[in-house]
């Protein structure tokens, strides 16, 4: 049986809170963060609902204490805030004491600045500093700088909506293999006109609050967020007498190989990912106490993921919920924020509600948990599925 990789810290900023404590409070008080978009100048404002972090870039810059000359994209700003919380939560004072790296997921990267200054870049000197912030790796490097991670393994993953889950998966393997003693893993994505309009053209944005796993679901709410975990090796945990929040126990990644954007109706990719994760964890389906589903509330995802749940769990699907009605679908960050929520669930023995659910889907009898529920939890499974057929599953546990 695979020995889990210790999680010693976590940090998050999302539409329902600027840190872990605030997120937990919202989750346990059924307070969602869905609203009209305020901080992105878009003509779609009245057409859609989003999960937006209501802090301006200037407020985030101030919180981070960055000089006015900084060239941080909003993705980097959100990421830096969540990553710093995670490192502080892990009680890390000297980041250089152990071989520490960072693996982050993003899909938007610096697109918020690119779409703002696209043509101005050619002539307006004052905006040109952001040209180098466009590429996806820039936000990760900025976070590394904020944490003081130098001369180390720093990389970025972009597999659409499974990016952060894959960053956690790769980070866990880096610890297992001994390549690193410690790694900060997660993801960040900000709202942008690019993604708002992109998903709009795919006609999968709801014009109201999203309703995951509901028969009458109308699509997803986009969101923005960043969340990071700190993973540490067994040796470091021992040497530093670390408080362990939980363990990354299993991981699985597969590809649906069905369609560039849609998931297969039979949920092949998600099925394979869950099966692989169970195998890595050395667990049976019946060992899973709660599933934080991907549950975007699109027609396609919820049907495909539901079928996958039945493929893996038969008629014994554990209690499950999607937390996306709280936060919106935060794209590349989703696997990170839902990892934080999975660990909070384990720590407090709580299942967070799937908001806005009313009518079971006609294709199967799966009904999500709609109220906050106390339940002794040992093992939580979290799915992240995305464009390009990317399917990832993480299993978190209380015990190693």
């Amino acid at each position: 049986m695979n020995k889990g990789v210790a999680i010693t810290g976590m940090g998050i900023i999302s539409a329902i809170g600027n840190n872990t404590q605030e997120n937990f409070h919202a989750l346990t008080h059924a307070k969602h963060g869905i609203s009209r978009v305020d901080l992105v100048d878009t003509i779609q404002r009245d057409e859609i609902m989003v999960g937006e972090v209501k802090l301006t870039n200037d407020q985030l810059i101030e919180q981070l204490g960055l000089p006015p000359s900084n060239n941080y994209s909003r993705t980097a700003l959100l990421g830096a805030i969540a990553a710093k919380e995670a490192v502080a939560d892990a009680g890390i004072v000297d980041i250089k004491k152990y071989k520490t790296g960072i693996v982050s997921g993003t899909s938007v990267g610096g697109m918020d600045k690119t779409e703002k200054y696209y043509y101005e870049y050619l002539t307006e000197k004052e905006h040109q500093k952001y040209i180098e912030s466009h590429h996806a790796g820039d936000s990760t490097q900025k976070i590394a700088e904020q944490l003081g991670i130098e001369e180390s393994l720093v990389t970025t993953i972009s597999t659409a909506c499974s990016s952060a889950a894959n960053a956690i998966l790769f980070g866990a393997r880096l610890i297992k293999s001994g390549k690193l003693d410690r790694v900060v893993v997660g993801g960040a994505d900000c709202l942008s006109k690019f993604t708002i309009n992109g998903f709009k053209t795919l006609m999968i944005l709801s014009d109201t609050y999203s309703t995951p796993f509901d028969e009458n679901r109308k699509g997803l709410n986009l969101g923005e967020a960043a969340a990071f975990l700190v993973l540490e090796s067994e040796d470091v945990v021992k040497a530093e007498n670390k408080n362990v929040l939980g363990y990354v126990k299993g991981w699985g990644n597969a590809n649906d190989a069905f369609h560039q954007t849609a998931s297969s109706e039979d949920g092949d990719g998600a099925t394979l990912a869950m099966e692989k994760a169970l195998k890595v964890a050395g667990m049976k389906p019946s060992d899973i106490d709660y599933i934080n589903v991907h549950g975007t509330a699109t027609n396609n995802n919820d049907l495909s993921e539901g079928r996958a749940l039945i493929n893996v769990f038969g008629d014994k699907t554990p209690i499950f919920s999607s937390t996306k009605a709280f936060t919106g679908h935060t794209l590349a960050a989703a696997g990170g924020i839902e990892a934080v929520y999975s660990i909070l669930a384990l720590q407090h023995n709580l299942v967070f509600p799937n908001l806005n659910f009313e009518t079971p889907m006609k294709e199967f009898s799966l009904v999500p948990q709609t109220e906050l529920k106390e339940k002794e939890l040992q093992v939580v499974l979290s799915n992240s599925l995305g464009f390009g057929g990317n399917s990832s599953t993480l299993i978190f546990s209380k015990e190693a």
Binding site: T106, Q128, Q141, R173, G198, K200, G388
Partner: protein
């Protein structure tokens, strides 16, 4: 722990490198600041209807995959891992400019769908029906080496036995213009022979797709063993040599064991100093090889460096056009090759290859 073998190589670059019967025999001596990949005959590999929808990067990636898999003699792989620094620039530019030019109206989804960084890996998976592990690394000039590291870790533990690894980068017209105004692109054209002595800032920008089939068992077509790979986000220039030596030491080697060093000089007067410290210092007496004078600079071009190292190990010859000095006589065996790359002083990678 199992070893990692490079069982096939495929390169679509600014030179005609997609046919492995040639080894840089015919060179196009560009005299430019931006150079484009030489197109293979795409319709030989992709149905024309599908090809029409694909931007150049996707086409290059799909064809390089087919070439690499054919040479390795495999029909499928356990995992697909790609790297791309900028992602699908052509479709990204199309979608951003459409948003701006039409004030967010009359948009169609095709370019958005194809703009995501994992488009190429997803298309490859679709094409060969590979339901295995599928990852895309997007960390600037460490994108390809990140993919390589991930693959190597899986092959060592036999989590996967055959993995397709590749890097792909395409030039977008607007992005190219934008990088010109911040001097990342050379202000004036240079010929390949002038690159090493260039006194100007920036590099000659390029594009390409470089793919490899890696396995923990050598095939008949095997080019080299991938011994180790190391990536570092930052490294002070005066620590490059000692880091290279430490990397070799971790593999029980010293500088004198290295027969050829493959370097990523791109002629940028501001940043080539890192290479010069090696060529004039630690690796002064080692055979030195470079390639960006032929294939330009892009975020995954270090994969071309691995292509070159792999081909040299298999052929046991070094094309004259890539030699920076002359330290090997033609009879000496080439056993170990070290590749080193960095971009604009950041994103340093070391890749160690061995004859198989």
């Amino acid at each position: 722990m199992k070893k990692t073998y490079i069982n096939s190589v495929a390169s679509i670059s600014t030179q005609k490198t997609f046919d492995n019967d040639d080894f840089l025999d015919e060179i196009t001596p560009y005299n430019d600041t931006v150079i484009y990949a030489v197109d293979p005959v795409y319709r030989d590999y992709i149905p024309p209807a599908a090809a029409r929808r694909m931007a150049k990067g996707i086409k290059m990636g799909v064809v390089a995959t087919k070439l690499a898999m054919a040479e390795a003699g495999v029909e499928n792989v356990d995992a697909i891992i790609t790297g791309t620094g900028m992602g699908c620039m052509i479709d990204s530019e199309k979608f951003v400019s459409a948003i701006i030019d039409n004030q967010e109206q009359y948009l169609t989804p095709t370019s958005f769908i194809q703009s995501t960084h994992n488009t190429v890996a997803g298309q490859i998976a679709l094409g060969i029906k590979c339901k295995g592990y599928n990852f895309t690394y997007v960390h600037s000039s460490l994108s390809f080496q990140s993919a390589l590291l991930d693959a190597k870790m899986q092959l060592e533990t036999a989590e996967a036995n055959t993995i397709l690894v590749g890097g792909v980068e395409e030039l977008g017209a607007h992005t190219t213009k934008v990088h010109r105004v911040i001097d990342h692109i050379k202000p004036e054209a240079i010929a390949p022979s002038e690159m090493l002595d260039s006194k100007t800032k920036g590099a000659v920008f390029s594009e390409g797709a470089y793919f490899f089939v890696l396995s923990n068992e050598p095939s008949e077509s095997c080019y080299a063993e991938l011994v180790d790979v190391k990536i570092l986000n930052t490294l002070p220039i005066d620590k490059v040599a000692e880091t290279a030596v430490a990397f070799l030491k971790e593999n029980n080697l010293t500088t004198s064991d290295i027969d050829v060093v493959v370097l990523g000089n791109n002629g940028d007067v501001e940043y080539d100093g890192a290479y010069r410290l090696l060529t004039e210092g630690e690796f002064k007496n080692t055979q030195q090889v470079y390639y960006k004078h032929l294939v330009g600079e892009n975020h995954v071009v270090s994969a071309f460096g691995m292509w070159l190292g792999s081909r040299i190990l298999k052929a046991q010859t070094i094309p004259e056009i890539v030699k920076m000095n002359d330290m090997l006589d033609s009879s000496s065996e080439i056993q170990y090759i070290l590749c080193y790359n960095q971009y604009r002083g950041k994103d340093h990678s070391f890749t160690l290859l061995k004859k198989c």
